[in-house]
Amino acid sequence: MVTEYGIKFTVNLINNHFGNLVAKVCENLLRRGPLTLQLIVRYTELTPQQVKNSLLILIQHNCVQAFSYEQDGGLEDGPKSNTQYMALFNNILHRMRFSKFLEIMSREFDDKCKELLEGLLQHGRLTLKQMVERAKDLAERAKSRKKEGICENLVQESLVKLFTARYVERCPASEPVLAARNKEDTPAKKRGPKSARTAEESQTLEQRVLAAAAPMEAQRFSAITNNESAVGRETSMDDSPGMRVGAKRKYDASELHIEPAAEEEVILWRANFEEFIRCLRHKACIENVRERLDDGAATVLRAMLEATRSLENKVKTEKSVPLSLNNIFEEVMKSEEGRGMTLDLVRASLVQLGCSPSARGTDESYKIDLKKIIELAQNDEVESIVLKRYGRDAYRMFRLLSKNGRLVETDKIANTTFVEKKDAPKILYKLWKDEYLHMEKLVVAGARQSQFLLWKVNKPCLWKHVLDEMFHAALNLSQRVAYEREKEKEFLNLPVDKQVMSQEERLNRLKSVRIVLESSLLKLDDALMLFHDFEESSLLKLDDAIMLSHDL
């Protein structure tokens, strides 16, 4: 879901990281959907060179993906002119999560791996050679006397570890070709002024493009390259229309027949955000269970998720991979906190987690509804806003409607929640005005009370609204950080005798202010992920269905 404040926030991120020119290009792409170079130049009123440089930066940092449409036969006016650039909203958003990704890294791997990832996050994408050079640089700076050869080995060793854990992947094709689509879906339409529509459409388009650009699964996490496999991929890809991946990488055509060592240099690698998000999603589920149930349940869930991580086929998987009780118990025993648990305790925790065994042969197997856990966490977040903003009566009413999921009449709500009958409509109205509730009027002819008001929580709408409020709040936090920094600079530039507080005092204050703001932003981002990254949006699914019917 891309909301108005979502765009504002991501543009602000890009502005902070790469400056206002890049941000301008990025904003146009986010608001208008995919554009050609010429159109970007026209909309941004920047010079072609500035736009080109901005795009290069954005592509280097995986924030933009280029693609083109397959030309209809005969009308070849050069594929270059038709290249479209598309901003990748999610990848831009991930830029504020780098500290979280690095934390995962240092928890699971050694410093070498962390350094490697740091390099990839800092530079967006790197070749093996660049990674080795970076490691050498770092080693030199640390004045370690490691020989170059060792350095290279170390990098390769770390890289293999990261490939196995799927934290690093091969970059997607630089410009995949999409099969031409129906007339109404031509790019001309995408550039229409209705930003809401374009955002929705480009999301499904985004999926198509990303799927077309993605390297084959076998190559995605493997450093082994040779001529044969590369050529093989080339031909196999050509067979399927719209997926000509290999040919599009600039270097490929010219360097395919050069020795393997040379090719390694041109293969670009990057951090696999998807895997990090999966990891954070698991973590969020485990922590939520720990809070709601107990440590035992959290331990069991963690063991299950860790054991089946490589088997999950997508990030936003709804249910964990089924596992037998014996397997679960074995996994639980592997962790320190699980060692004290008995089989009975594990079984009790599984029941707590709400999964009943499905008999498969003689073995009982369990799977956990992760979607449900995410949903509960989302509910908690929204309910806590209602409580803080509108008070306890509103909280009770909101929870009633949220649990009920259908229209309920005003008096019925008042009765069930023990709210004074004359107060209930006022509270409900306030919630409705702020888009937290949906209201319908029911007019009954003939009866004495001819009009009833019915209320309900419309989750898809409300979730989108809350997400937008979160982006707004995140934008505010980051702008306040910038403002505090600015103020500090001004203060430091004042002559010493005019400074009211001592420098030390001021710096301490700034430090606490920044800690509060930045930690709040990190926490808010956890909630953002809950609503934006952890759950398949139902809106998207619907869109997919429409597209499917179009394509067929």
């Binding site: 309910e383 069930t416 023990f418 702008q479 709040s520």
Partner: protein, 239 residues
């Protein structure tokens, strides 16, 4: 507590209530019969006037007289507190008029409700897991109230507590804490493990000023209300 008694036992007295009404004027009788015919539903003065076609002053005078003779009484209709409603003394106003058990004189009896809620939480906390019947039984044995509660009344209270997120519904699995409760039966348990029913955990958005800001819709990066000029931020970051 009279409001907890049903109207039925009083209804039966009707046939021998003729004696005090013997000395009524024609208008009074007309009105009295009308009011009595409405039974426990009571009637609004405006409706009386319309149905009897009597002039205002006559109605007012007769009602006063009937009241002093203790034949009728005024009741508050919670649907419309401004409208005067009358009911014959032998009836207790219906649930629709009074609002039911939880209302006293037309107002929600919050004090009584909250007391009962607290009591229920205490019982559930002590029992760890409790069924509805278990809670009702404990209330009856505790004798903290001089009224009898029905299962439905306790259920209403318990449901409100679930909405308050102070307790939660769980299904018995027959093991551990549930060993005395049949499998599959709905039980209640306290949400917070410590038993103290504090506020629920504050979410990420609700814990920063923007999450509860009444002006958030007016706040823009360079507007009059902006994160730079925000008073809530300044207050929050005042170290």
């Amino acid at each position: 507590m009279s409001r907890l008694q049903g109207p039925s036992p009083l209804k039966r007295k009707r046939p021998d209530s003729n004696t005090p009404s013997g000395s009524l004027t024609e208008h009074e009788r007309l009105l009295y019969d009308l009011i009595r015919s409405k039974q426990d539903m009571a009637i609004w003065t405006r409706d009386m006037k319309r149905e009897t076609n009597l002039p205002d002053n006559v109605v007012t005078k007769s009602l006063k007289s009937l009241q002093t003779k203790k034949l009728i009484k005024e009741v508050v209709n919670i649907q419309n507190k401004g409208r005067k409603h009358y009911i014959a003394t032998e009836f207790e106003p219906s649930m629709e008029i009074t609002g039911g058990t939880w209302y006293a004189e037309g107002n929600l009896d919050t004090e009584f409700i909250n007391f009962l809620k607290k009591h229920c939480v205490k019982i559930i906390y002590e029992l760890k897991v409790a069924t509805l019947e278990g809670i009702l039984d404990t209330i009856r044995r505790s004798r903290a109230f001089n009224v009898e509660f029905t299962t439905q009344q306790v259920e209403e209270i318990v449901n409100a507590l679930v909405l308050d997120n102070e307790i939660m519904e769980v299904k018995s699995n027959g093991i551990g804490e549930f060993d005395s409760i049949p499998v599959g039966r709905v039980c209640y348990t306290c949400t917070s493990k410590g038993g103290d029913t504090g506020e629920p955990k504050i979410g990420a958005l609700a814990s920063i000023p923007c999450g509860v800001c009444p002006q958030i819709s007016l706040c823009t990066p360079d507007g009059i209300i902006s994160p730079k000029t925000c008073v809530y931020f300044t207050k929050w970051l005042d170290f």
